[in-house]
């Protein structure tokens, strides 16, 4: 039902997944291989008209998650590279832990850049359409298509409701000089009420969309249409993706690790 010049992104999706898998499979500490993969990613980005520096910066979104790996620095007892006392606490930093931390951060950073190239090159509708062509079940593809279509609308509505709330009741303590409205459970309930009100609007909208479709003569089946044109060189591109996978794996196996 959404039909706007959808491009065939199948090869790009397969390449993205294979490169992400190859990066995930790279052994811990193979920094040279990561450097090569990143150079390749940056080159592909530059050739596609995306500034590599901007890509690298945007990919930092995944890095706060590295906090989860921080304990490894102190809990692993192999290859102690530093040990000392901090007041009453004796700490030791493990080289093996540090290596896992750095490797994980690099994997996350590079994987996000690969995913970013995919979504910058293909509109999301093309990606969903291509996933549909790659056997994503129709219910999910159609539902995803509708979600994407109504996303901005409902987010705008949510923004307006939040603005109305903050100009009338609960603003955080300390952010304004006025007292924040109500107790914490009261504020939570008000927030829940907003979510409930938004759902009722979404529910009513779904009923209207359904009515409109019936009025136009829709006969029951509803489907996210397939691709409008298919890539004639899909097989060659898939082979290229597999070759890239093999190349990254070989780099991981052959290049020295630290």
């Amino acid at each position: 039902m959404i039909a706007t010049g959808r491009q065939d992104a199948r090869a790009a999706i397969v390449t993205t997944l294979l490169v992400t898998l190859a990066v995930a499979l790279l052994p811990t500490g193979s920094y040279l291989a990561y450097l090569l993969v990143w150079l390749a990613v940056a080159t592909v980005a530059a050739l596609s008209g995306i500034a590599p520096a901007q890509l690298a910066r945007r990919a930092l979104v995944a890095l706060p998650f590295v906090v989860a790996a921080l304990p490894l620095l102190f809990t692993r007892s192999d290859e102690i590279i530093w040990a000392g006392e901090l007041g009453a606490i004796s700490l030791s930093v493990s080289g093996a832990g540090l290596r896992i931390l750095l490797t994980t951060a690099l994997k996350a950073w590079i994987s996000v850049q690969v995913a970013l190239i995919l979504v910058k090159l293909y509109p999301i509708e093309s990606i969903v359409g291509s996933l549909r062509a790659l056997k994503l079940p129709d219910t999910i593809a159609t539902s995803a298509g509708l979600t994407i279509r109504y996303l901005d609308l409902l987010r705008n509505e949510a923004t307006r409701m939040l603005r109305a709330r903050s100009s009338r009741s609960a603003s955080p303590i300390g952010e304004t000089r006025e007292r924040a409205g109500g107790s914490i459970p009261w504020r939570a309930r008000v927030t829940g009420n907003l979510a409930g009100a938004l759902f009722l609007r979404a529910y009513a909208r779904a009923a209207r969309v359904e009515e409109a479709a019936t009025a136009r003569g829709a006969r029951g089946s509803l489907s996210f249409g397939g691709l409008q044109q298919t890539d004639p060189r899909i097989v060659q591109k898939a082979a290229l993706a597999l070759a890239t996978f093999a190349l990254i794996s070989a780099a991981g196996a052959l290049l020295p690790r630290f």
């Binding site: 898998l21 979104v61 995944a62 809990t75 996350a108 994987s111 996000v112 109504y150 303590i173 979404a202």
Partner: protein, 316 residues
Amino acid sequence: MHPSLHIPDGFLAPEVSIALWVATAVVIGIALRRIASGHANAPARTVLMGIAGAFIFAAQMFNFPVAAGTSGHLLGGVLAGVLLGPWAGSIVMATVIGIQALLFQDGGLLVLGANIFNMGVIGTLGGSLVARATSEVVGGGRRGQFVGVGFAAWLSVMAAAGLTTLQLGISGTTDIGIGLPAMLGTHALIGMGEALITIGAIGFISASAPDILSERTSERGASAPRRIALGSVIALITVSLAALFASASPDGLERVAEDLGFLDQGQGPAFELLPDYTIPGLDGTVSTILAGAVGVAVVVVILLLLGRVAARRRSA
């Protein structure tokens, strides 16, 4: 504070990612079959699911100030499950989590199966089943529904946090002993926010448009034997989660204490009912299982008492 449970690529071992993709695909496959067979009016259902997906996205923007710089906000798993039913709800959550990964790089692509499993399968499917069972245990009705939804919303956040940490631990990218208590500690509070917002939303909808929810709520509590059976299952889930956390945390908290050298200074509680989760005089596994069973019994009694109180208030 945006407590992210969306794992990025690179943090899970490929075997773990692929195993969870398979598990997720199986459950979502079953869900698709269930909604296809259960509803004659499938297109209307799909339109509602699609727009509800956009609603969950938007509802995740709703936060409420707790203190300066800190806020509670919604994940929406149990809310989706209660509003749309467990099967359609989990498909909607899977779609939302997928679009978040693609459009906003909130969570990775290879690990998407894991993220859907933690938040969409366990959080929504498991969460709405827990909500339904809990509300039947405490006596049904409006109050029972709120207790069930709130408890399930809290549990869904805790379960997602616990599963995320376990998966990272198995992949060797975190230390479960430290990570689990830290994650569960913070998410115990975040889960309260989730519970309060979910109750608020369900309360608002059931007050202003009761017919939307009526087909999915049990008006009356379950019969006594069924209630006891359901209660035991819920208690079992809760206790086994707790046991899992407890078994991971001795070498978490206690080791931190040991490292810091104040383990000896730590004083035991005035009385210990089940010291170290074991029963005195028995050893090993048997003792742990018995201790678990005692825990289940205690939780069942508490739930039954809660149910009685709720029922009395309802009739009053």
